[in-house]
């Protein structure tokens, strides 16, 4: 190696050396951007462009089967504001979101706390909570739909046996929300628990020791040491759950016994916003892409607003600092 550098030092004339220097400086400045560019290029093609294009389509009366398209300005959005089915879908989505996310994050926190103690076979349990996550979403929805089925479902069989009687889960407003929330909770609790667990393990033991010396019992330690230290993680999980929860589609779509039309029940009792978008675009023979795009953008704004609200609420958790 030393021989090579010696040759270089001798052979390269000063002018070329200056060029190299300049290239090296350029390399230091430009290369980092080149290294991260694949993400931004892909994001521009598959994220930004569809977003902008959907925005454009939402200003037109585009229909999949109609070759002529006209610019209609904000007409789709105006119609959307007066569309009772859209607001019904918003209400359903928020309802299902609340009754699935709140218990789910709470359960995940408790689960993470338990997994953080010295259990026998801890690794096994930690892996087991992630199992629902790697199960196919369609399989989950189909199995749970069978469990909740009116005449031959396992849940109704048990309820009937203990004297409560059968419940028509799919037909009822709140019963259908509960059934769907159970699917969401089952699938996502373990995932959030693992995120909490990782954050919990980053909390220094000294804090707990100090708390113990001050006489704090485990429950008090949980509230006053663990939770404040988890604050950034809780904010993260709440935001991610908001984004995912408001886009709920597969579970309610497959929950519907006759899912042609994607109406989410006979009285649209569990039609989510994305299902409504699908109904207007591809799920029926309406193919109203312009209107569906407007729904997409409305959902985007809705998620932004609710994420912000959640962020402001969760920020009030007392920080560890």
């Amino acid at each position: 190696m030393s021989q090579g550098t010696a040759v270089e030092a001798v052979a390269i004339p000063p002018q070329q050396r200056r060029l190299r220097m300049r290239l090296r400086r350029l390399d230091g400045k430009v290369s980092p951007y080149l290294y991260i560019s694949p993400f931004f290029l892909l994001f521009a093609v598959f994220g930004l462009f569809p977003l902008a294009y959907t925005g454009w389509v939402s200003l037109t009366d585009r229909n999949l089967l109609d070759p002529t398209t006209h610019f209609v300005g904000l007409d789709n959005y105006t119609a959307l504001l007066h569309d009772s089915y859209f607001w019904n879908a918003v209400e359903n989505t928020l309802g299902i979101f609340v009754i699935s996310t709140v218990p789910q994050l709470f359960l995940a926190l408790v689960l993470a706390h338990v997994l953080n103690t010295k259990l026998h076979g801890r690794t096994l349990f930690r892996m087991a909570v992630l199992l629902p996550q790697i199960t196919s979403l369609v399989a989950v929805a189909l199995i749970f739909t069978q469990l909740f089925s009116r005449d031959y479902g396992l849940i109704n069989y048990v309820l009937d046996h203990v004297g409560i009687g059968k419940v028509d889960w799919e037909a009822g407003d709140y019963t259908s929300w509960i059934a769907l929330s159970v699917m969401v909770i089952w699938r996502w609790t373990g995932y959030n628990a693992l995120i909490y667990l990782a954050a919990m393990q980053a909390i220094p033991d000294e804090l707990y020791e100090a708390a113990a010396i001050d006489g704090a019992r485990p429950w008090r330690q949980f509230w006053h040491v663990t939770i404040p230290n988890l604050r950034p993680t809780i904010i993260f999980t709440v935001i991610v759950s908001t984004i995912g929860g408001l886009q709920l589609f597969t579970e309610p779509y497959l929950f519907e016994p006759d899912h042609y039309g994607a109406t989410g029940g006979s009285a649209r009792q569990y039609q989510t916003v994305v299902m409504y978008l699908y109904e207007k675009s591809f799920g029926s023979s309406q193919f109203k892409l312009g209107y569906a795009s407007a729904i997409g953008w409305a959902l985007f704004m809705l998620i932004a607003v609710i994420s912000l609200v959640n962020f402001l609420i969760i920020r009030r958790i007392r920080s560890a600092d």
């Binding site: 999949l64 006979s266 023979s285």
Partner: protein, 427 residues
């Protein structure tokens, strides 16, 4: 053809899709190596099983340069994908099935399909029932598809349950019980009075309602293409009768093609079901244990149609002539007769409907009922219905409306009013 494919078929569908993908991969690999220029692969996109497998094999044998690959999807997915594929200009197969509920919508855009007259289809016109031929003609006169089957109606009923409820169980006597739908609902009341516990007269209000709608002409659209749901007294009458049946406790309240509906066949929780010809195959697949307990009677009101399809060639096809030759073969009298015997899908060609093999065909699963005669004669007297682009969505709205009454979510009047509002919304 089977109008919907539900959960039962899903696993099999996935396997089938994987298989077709494999076959396709093998075929392209094979052709690239060997007789590259000679072999033409024709892709056929269907919903549900049209019963064509052996027909393809026969065709490939007589046409060694043709290789046929079939793609099967569910009923809703197939049609929405077809719309996507023709609108975006890529992805459609050489041959695409279109169900009668969608044909009005696709023929309104004839620029996306080959006009089959350019291949000489006009010469075959006399093969089909005149209205079947007419249904796939675009407003500009182009013929965009050749007819496969029709779904003429009958009533499939459980003779054993009829006997238990003290009703006649012989098919001629049963047919005499219900010359009209009003009689059918009245028989339901008699049945319900003595029915075994947990057994209902029919499966779902929507199937009874749709059967009545299937006999109307006009029903949802008039000849000019206007939606006439709210002003058509026939639609209102069908609704009122359906509601009367539901309120008399005759409905098992099972959404058609749901899991519980499928299980309902096995457990025998409903005694009658509206039966288009293709439904025979569905029942046999769902409840093989009930063989011999079923029988088939005439449909109240006579005639009526539910389902039936066409085969069309999208403009994207690179081999339209070969594709046309294939659909001509698939819809030939010999093929349609073969498919009827094996799957129950009823031919759409009068000569065939009147032929001895069809007329004499009996189905052992349905107590040896002369199903050929029943369905063929029903098809021959069938009065065609004018359909429109949003036929399928109006039907979905109607199904939801009957379910709201069954599930006690709304009063019949409120549900009807919401149905009318939905109709306005989709069209």
């Amino acid at each position: 053809m089977v109008k919907y494919i539900r959960s039962r078929g899903r696993g099999r569908l996935v396997a089938l899709l994987a298989l077709t993908a494999l076959v396709a991969a093998g075929a392209t690999a094979g052709s690239a190596v060997g007789k590259a220029r000679d072999t033409i692969t024709l892709r056929v996109s269907l919903f549900g099983d049209f019963g064509y497998h052996n027909v393809y094999a026969a065709y490939e044998k007589s046409h060694p340069n043709i290789n046929i690959v079939e793609d099967i999807q569910s009923y809703p997915d197939h049609h929405s994908n077809l719309a996507k594929h023709i609108a975006t200009g890529a992805g459609a197969d050489d041959i695409e099935a279109i169900e009668v509920g969608f044909v009005a919508q696709f023929k309104a855009q004839p620029q996306y399909f080959y006009d089959l007259r350019q291949f000489g289809a006009s010469a075959l016109k006399s093969r089909w029932l005149p209205w079947k031929w007419q249904q796939s003609i675009a407003p500009n006169g182009a013929q965009i598809g050749l007819g496969t089957d029709v779904g003429s109606l009958a009533i499939c009923y459980r003779a054993d349950l009829f006997k238990k409820a003290g009703l006649p169980s012989n098919r001629a006597a049963v047919s005499k019980l219900w010359p009209t739908w009003k009689d059918y609902i009245a028989v339901g009341k008699r049945f319900q009075a003595h029915a075994p516990k947990g057994v209902h007269f029919f499966d779902s209000g929507s199937n009874v309602y749709n059967a009545m709608i299937g006999q109307l002409n006009p029903a949802y659209y008039d000849a000019k293409g206007n939606v006439i749901v709210s002003s058509n007294p026939g639609v209102r009458a069908a609704w009122a009768l359906t509601v009367a049946g539901i309120q008399a406790g005759e409905s098992a309240g099972l959404a058609a093609f749901s899991n519980d509906w499928n299980t309902g066949y096995k457990k025998g929780v409903f005694a009658t079901v509206t039966c288009p010809a293709w439904m025979m195959g569905y029942i046999q697949g769902q409840a093989p244990n009930t063989s011999g307990k079923w029988d088939i009677a005439a449909v109240p009101g006579g005639g009526g149609n539910w389902g039936g399809s066409f085969l069309a060639i999208p403009k994207q096809s690179k081999h339209p002539q070969e594709a046309y030759d294939l659909i001509k073969f698939l819809t030939s009298p010999a093929s349609e007769a073969y498919v009827f015997k094996n799957t129950g899908n009823l031919p759409s060609q009068p000569a065939l409907l009147k032929s001895q093999p069809v007329q004499n065909f009996r189905n052992p699963f349905f107590s040896n009922a002369p199903v050929g005669k029943i369905f063929a004669n029903s098809a021959l007297v069938l009065k065609p219905q004018v359909t429109g682009p949003h036929q399928g969505d109006i039907q979905t709205a109607a199904t939801n409306a009957t379910q709201r009454v069954e599930q006690h979510k709304q009063s019949p009047n409120a549900s009807w009013n919401q149905f009318l509002k939905d109709v306005q919304n989709v069209s």
